[in-house]
């Protein structure tokens, strides 16, 4: 056993369940008859709709444009007619304006090997503009607009690029398959980002439960002296930006800092491939890999899904749900959102659909009795004391809770996973954060 890097002694070790889908290559779905494309698919301002009902759109046509710097363009994933613009629920549980497009016409891009752009002759600004125009956002789940991340503010010196292939959430194997099936594209994408950032060190961090991916990328990078493949210990939440930076470079991003403050930029594997497709193949971000897995799905698969496809169609593609399904989660089971309805569209940040049947389903105990065991403290990679914060929230001491670091909680779920008393810690923290924000706003108002 060799020593593998990780972010410290804290963290949780949930079963990874990757075996369900990690041998399944990426397969394609049928083209849906209708797609539902919400304008909120990224962090930042919602995109502004630039089409009207009845208008004919082509595949990859801009239908909503970025509203401000921290925002992202949205493109039509199928050719067709705009059937409606309506308010619909999206996977995170809030409502968003949604453009409904009915399939009509011809696919001009998908499946066709269109012209390859010679990106080496493009300047840094041209590359950044193209990434912005083609609506690329971080595809690991946070959906932060990529052009914002790659625009380094003056005075900051970035010397390291980390490609995040940790994929620490259980069940998800999309990035794993991309690293194997499309490793050349990944390396080309890395070259493109390197042209923008011009860094000294490039690391690909992969958790060691993806041995085949590590092996494949190591062979491909043999003569690439500046790219290092770093096997990481399997531990949750390794894939968090700050934790993977700590694991690989041993640099600590302070709470009010961004990764670029310590000279590091982190990009997810799927994002790098999306950047390559945008720059080289002129393809906007109109589809993504979704892992459909879990004990509640009949045929678990890794699917390439058009943005805007309804969840029920994705699940039908995998043989449907089993009888005893209890929960359907968009995103990984640790941080994802449970859905009450399958009529929600797949968006840019939807890395997985996990259906949990009765066997995997465990309930929280809202009034669970804390035993002071300290397991949540050992699980919290951010060095908080969840049990202490939880008690403050329980007794309405929100200022105290914030003092103990409530607002630094990333809601990764490691504490709640490891709690033997089954206390819904993350849920309580969300509530506490919400109330604390409202209270501080009120205080400000009273002062001013």
């Amino acid at each position: 056993m060799s020593f593998k890097k990780s972010f410290g002694y804290r963290g949780a070790h949930p079963d990874d369940y990757k075996y369900i889908t990690n041998k399944n290559s990426i397969s394609f779905t049928d083209v849906p008859d209708r797609v539902y494309i919400p304008v909120i698919q990224h962090i930042g301002a919602p995109a502004k709709i630039v089409v009207s009902v009845g208008q004919v759109v082509e595949e990859g046509q801009l239908i909503a444009e970025a509203d401000g710097f921290v925002s992202a363009n949205i493109h039509s994933s199928i050719p067709g007619t705009v059937a409606a613009i309506e308010e619909r629920y999206i996977s995170v549980g809030k409502k968003s304006k949604t453009i409904v497009i009915e399939l009509n016409g011809e696919f001009r891009k998908s499946g066709k090997n269109i012209h390859l752009t010679d990106w080496k002759s493009m300047t840094k600004d041209q590359l950044l503009k193209k990434i912005k125009d083609y609506g690329i956002v971080g595809m690991g789940g946070a959906t932060f607009p990529t052009h914002v991340k790659l625009t380094i503010p003056n005075g900051k010196n970035v010397d390291t690029l980390i490609i995040n292939g940790a994929e620490c959430e259980p069940y998800i194997t999309g990035d794993h398959r991309l690293m194997i099936d499309r490793s050349e594209d990944l390396l080309e994408g890395i070259n493109i980002i390197n042209k923008i950032l011009d860094v000294r060190n490039i690391y690909i961090g992969i958790e060691s439960n993806k041995k085949d991916a590590i092996k494949r990328l190591k062979t491909l990078c043999l003569n690439r002296y500046n790219i290092k493949v770093v096997p990481l210990r399997v531990k949750y939440p390794q894939g968090d930006e700050k934790q993977i930076i700590k694991a690989i470079t041993n640099r600590v991003v302070q709470v009010d800092q961004l990764p670029s403050d310590v000279g590091v930029i982190v990009q997810n594997v799927a994002t790098v491939i999306a950047i390559k497709e945008a720059i080289v193949n002129d393809k906007p971000l109109i589809d993504r890999i979704v892992t459909v897995s879990g004990s509640g799905v009949k045929e678990p698969k890794n699917l390439k899904v058009k943005i805007g496809t309804l969840l029920k169609e994705v699940i039908e593609e995998c043989g449907g749900l089993k009888e005893d399904v209890k929960k359907v989660v968009i995103g990984g089971p640790m941080m994802g959102f449970a859905q009450y309805d399958l009529e929600v569209p797949v968006t840019k940040g939807c890395s997985a659909v996990v259906a949990l049947s009765e066997d995997d389903y465990t309930d929280f105990i809202p009034n669970g009795i804390c035993l002071n065991c300290g397991k949540c403290i050992n699980a919290c990679a951010f060095g908080l004391a969840p049990t202490v914060i939880n008690k403050y929230i329980k007794y309405n001491l929100f200022d105290k809770a914030a003092e103990s670091g409530l607002m630094y909680c990333k809601e990764c779920g490691a504490c709640a996973w490891s709690c033997p008393a089954r206390i819904p810690l993350v849920q309580n923290f969300r509530l506490g954060k919400d109330i604390y924000r409202k209270l501080t706003e009120k205080k400000k108002k009273n002062k001013g």
Binding site: K242, K246, V252, V253, Q254, V255, Q257, K312, E316, G320, L321, E323, V325, K326, K327, V329, P333, M334, M335, G336, F337, A338, Q339, Y340, D341, L342, V354, L356, D360, Y361, T362, F364, G368, I369, C370, L371, N372, C373, G374, I377, A381, F382, G383, L384, A385, T387, G405, Y408, E411, A416, W417, S418, C419, P420, A421, R422, P424, V426, Q427, R430
Partner: protein, 356 residues
């Protein structure tokens, strides 16, 4: 699509560890059973009765209190069973049955439930119970019998015999021992003193082997260090018991014994016998199963290490300079009371947090 069935919506995470309060309590109880079985094997069926009554009355008290307070009865979560089992293990083999019964009622009713039940108790109920019994019935609580002896002949524990020998001063320490060994042996003292005592004081042969495998006088559950260690190591491996408290406890006892214990035998510093102190009394049972009670120990690793060191220090202080032969339960009780204080001052540092 949902087949008309409703899906459950809840906050993340959607996966939970298999471990629950209940499973922890029952697994710990399970790994106490070999030691209990050995105690019954060594001291006869009456010892089994003592353990059985302790467990029974601990569970009954919990049920009664919860019924009176109109709470949900939680006797199946294993915590009452565990308390009862530990109380039984801390009883001398020939104790009258009313002692374990009253101790169980005191521990579960007063120490645990009067302060709000599971998770709220200020001290480990079993430890508080043991100290309570020791104070209330000192004579019965310090009467021991020889293991594997059909007549249940009384004897002294190694620690007890050593203490009374040293207090009574009927062995000449100052000249003989130092001269005999010429300070050549590394560890020297307790074993030799006990072996030189007349046979009617301590009737078991004191060797490391006997101390380790349980051929000595002592409480029902504490005599076999071997079985306690086996169970403890498994629980540490399964991460049910955290290693920090037992390790710091043992190390402190060993280091303090090594440095200071030799002075009692006129040998000067750095000649004490750490192995003797680790193998006798309630050291193994206390450090592995009683000091590691989650509720009454600090929540941070640093705090738990301080807790373990404190336990070890007080144990050795009592053993070397106190009037009582044994101090494990006193030390744990004392550190239990210090736990809120430790938690107040030892805090975790958030990742990437800088004080302005």
């Amino acid at each position: 699509m949902n087949n008309g069935k409703l899906l459950i919506v809840s906050s993340s995470p959607h996966l939970l560890n298999n471990e629950s309060t209940r499973s922890i309590m029952w697994i710990v109880s399970l790994f106490l059973l070999p030691s209990i079985a050995f105690g019954i094997f060594a001291f006869g069926a009456y010892a089994g009765l003592v353990v059985l009554f302790s467990i029974l009355f601990s569970i009954l008290t919990e049920a009664a209190v919860q019924l009176i307070r109109k709470q949900k009865v939680t006797i199946l979560d294993g915590s009452a069973f565990l308390t009862g089992a530990l109380i039984g293990m801390n009883m001398p083999p020939q104790v009258p049955l009313y002692i374990p019964i009253i101790t169980s009622i005191f521990a579960t009713g007063l120490v645990k439930h009067a302060f709000g039940g599971l998770g709220q108790n200020w001290a480990n109920p079993a430890i508080a119970g043991r100290v309570f019994a020791l104070v209330a019935w000192s004579k019965y609580m310090t009467t021991w019998t020889v293991p594997f002896d059909a007549d249940a002949v009384t004897t002294a524990t190694p620690l007890g015999a050593l203490k009374s020998a040293l207090l009574e001063g009927n062995i000449d320490l100052s000249s003989t021992f130092a001269e005999q060994v010429g300070l050549s042996k590394f560890f020297y003292g307790p074993i030799q003193v006990l072996q030189s005592l007349p046979g009617e004081v301590i009737k078991t042969d004191t060797t490391y082997f006997n101390l380790f495998f349980g051929l000595k006088g002592g409480c029902i559950g504490e005599i076999s260090v071997f079985l306690l260690l086996l169970g403890g190591i498994y629980l540490i491996y399964r991460k049910i018991v955290s290693i920090d408290i037992p390790l710091s406890f043992f190390l402190t006892v060993a280091v303090v014994a090594w440095i200071f214990d030799g002075t009692r035998f006129g040998l000067g510093y750095f000649h004490g016998d750490p192995i003797f102190h680790l193998l006798t009394g309630g050291c193994a049972l206390g450090a592995l199963f009683m000091a590691t009670d989650m509720v009454t120990t600090p929540i941070t690793i640093k705090g738990r290490i301080i807790f373990g060191i404190g336990c070890g220090l007080i144990t050795m202080l009592v053993r070397m300079y106190g009037g009582l032969p044994e101090g494990v339960s006193l030390s744990i009780l004392f550190m239990n009371m210090l736990t809120p204080m430790i938690d107040r001052f030892i805090k975790v540092k958030p990742f990437g947090f800088v004080k302005k």
